[in-house]
């Protein structure tokens, strides 16, 4: 799926930023954010691609990601080791930290850091034992579907680069990024008629995916 397009991108000599406004599959479906990201990383993540190594910014529909290296610098490695020495925080402790910060925005971010909470304990164990690669890969794919990916945990992916979700507003001064943002936010959403008497109408309105809600990201 989308392999022709990805193969063409792979040949680019100096493409650094890619903005995909929409992707339509052969069976007329509009891909969701998560599906596109998984397809993209399934194709490029496991092969030596100069384009993929060069890529610094990727967008799809209303989502924007920085593509960052998974190699840790010294400070990150030290943080990781420190963190691994301690038990992970419980949900109650996390909430306490969040409420003490006093800012709802910060508390939202704190709650979304890293892999899903239910996997948090296992993640630490898996990393230390490194026994179940398949489980790790599955965890990673599940994690890819989460809106935030953060810090040292990305090294577990086995990929050389990772998506880090970012905000459009950080690129307000970049002409093309802001143009893409205005396009994907400003266009009219797909029209969804009420119960229509004409069956053929559903052929082109039923382009469903897991996140077809068009709930645009607010800045």
């Amino acid at each position: 799926m989308q392999e022709n397009s990805f193969r063409a991108l792979d040949d680019s000599p100096c493409l650094k930023r890619l903005y995909v406004t929409s992707a339509i599959t052969a069976d007329d479906r509009h891909l969701g954010h998560n599906s596109f990201l998984q397809l993209f990383f399934d194709y490029f993540g496991s092969r030596k691609s100069p384009f993929f190594n060069r890529l610094e910014l990727l967008s799809y529909d209303t989502a924007l990601w920085q593509i960052v290296s998974t190699e840790l610098n010294d400070a990150e490695r030290e943080d990781m080791e420190l963190e691994l020495e301690h038990e992970p925080l419980s949900d109650g402790e996390l909430e306490g930290l969040s409420s003490s910060s006093g800012h709802s925005h910060e508390s939202t971010q704190a709650g979304n850091i890293g892999p899903p909470k239910e996997d948090h304990t296992e993640v630490t164990d898996d990393y230390e034992d490194d026994t179940d690669d398949l489980q790790l890969a599955n965890d990673f794919r599940q994690w890819l579907t989460q809106p935030e990916c953060y810090t040292w945990e990305r090294v577990r992916s086995g990929f050389s680069r990772m998506p880090l979700k970012t905000l459009w507003v950080h690129y307000r001064n970049d002409e093309l990024v802001w143009t893409v943002y205005e396009f994907v936010i400003g266009r009219e959403p797909v029209f969804r008629p009420e119960q229509s008497a004409t069956p053929s109408i559903h052929d082109w309105t039923d382009a469903s995916d897991e996140d077809q809600s068009y709930a645009f990201q607010r800045l």
Partner: protein, 331 residues
């Protein structure tokens, strides 16, 4: 606010006017509310601005005769020093001359003014240049105009803008003032005068615009918004070795090339291309014929107003066969 600035401090001015209720009425036609313009006391008083060093002027969402006249007066006053000009007009606004004079000569001038305004909503800003005895077009480096009518008179524009100095040109919200009256001579003029830009952004869909693109060279950034046309390789052939940014975000109604082949053409022929905004359609998918136009036609048909249907069809340039196909489903 402006008087607080020290002398010659102001170099760039951007003002975005508030949106009047009429915009919302356009979106929700069933709503019954009086059209109420925003209070004019919130407009900046351009007369007290020290414009000695002002080289960049951006005025957005102009929607009343007063603000348009102020903007036109300010633009004309700064014509020799401006390097950047950005103007946009509210979609519901219709320019007009407010006068109490009724002499026959003056009424004739008003008729000409009104006629030009129906062809070009930006005419009020160009009007002072047209009236000038000695043409003094602005030597801008960057020009952005939003709310461009298909039928604007290129000769008026040439009175106001020296096209050869412009490096960045943006002509957006290109739309028809009437069905079938588009005037493409502006693009033919650009082609005949061998004008070229560094950055070019438009949603115009004229064949002549694409011919101009094909004949020019040296573009570094190109933003194309036309929904109904495939990007043909030959269109970009003159810009292959200079293009760094390219944006063509939508699929065409009837693509003559798959996205894979267009992508391949772009990435292999543009050695400097660093940023690309595009769409991806799986090969052999014909969804591109179905995604955008039909919902709009369906919505329009529910109103049972033929004028709306024709206007919508013109705007999205549906092919006759598709219109007949959709109509047959409803009759």
């Amino acid at each position: 606010m402006f008087s607080a600035l020290s002398r010659h401090q102001l170099r760039s001015l951007t003002y975005r006017h508030p949106v009047s209720d009429a915009l919302y009425l356009e979106q929700f036609r069933d709503a019954i509310r009086p059209i109420r313009d925003y209070p004019s006391e919130y407009d900046p008083d351009t007369r007290i601005i020290d414009t000695g060093n002002l080289t960049s002027l951006s005025l957005y969402n102009l929607g009343t005769t007063k603000t348009a006249n102020d903007a036109a007066e300010l633009t004309f006053r700064l014509r020799k020093q401006l390097k950047t000009l950005r103007l946009s007009v509210a979609s519901e606004w219709q320019p007009k001359i407010e006068t109490l004079q009724s002499s026959p000569e003056f009424m004739e001038a008003v008729m000409i003014y009104d006629r030009e305004c129906t062809r070009d909503k930006l005419y009020p800003f160009i009007y002072p240049f047209v009236l000038a005895d000695k043409p003094e077009p602005m030597r801008l480096q960057e020009l952005e105009l939003y709310g461009v009518f298909d039928a604007f008179d290129k000769n008026n524009w040439l009175c106001a803008f020296d096209l050869h100095t412009i490096q960045k040109l943006t002509l957006m919200h290109y739309f028809d003032c009437d069905i079938g009256t588009g005037d493409s001579s502006f693009w033919s003029h650009l082609q005949s005068q061998a004008v070229s830009f560094k950055t070019f952004k438009t949603d115009c869909g004229f064949n002549e615009m694409f011919s101009f693109l094909q004949s020019s060279s040296g573009l570094e950034a190109l933003f194309l918004y036309d929904y109904n046309r495939s990007l043909r390789p030959i269109t970009l052939s003159g810009h292959f070795h200079s293009l760094r940014k390219l944006f063509y975000p939508e699929w065409s109604i009837r693509p003559s090339h798959t996205t894979g082949s267009i992508l391949e053409m772009v990435v292999t022929n543009c050695p400097l291309l660093e940023e690309l905004g595009t769409y991806l359609v799986e090969q052999d998918s014909y969804v591109s014929c179905q995604m955008h136009p039909r919902p709009l036609v369906h919505q329009v048909l529910r109103t049972r107003e033929t004028v709306w249907l024709l206007t919508a069809c013109r705007k999205i340039r549906l092919e006759h066969s598709m219109i007949l196909h959709v109509l047959s489903a409803y009759t």
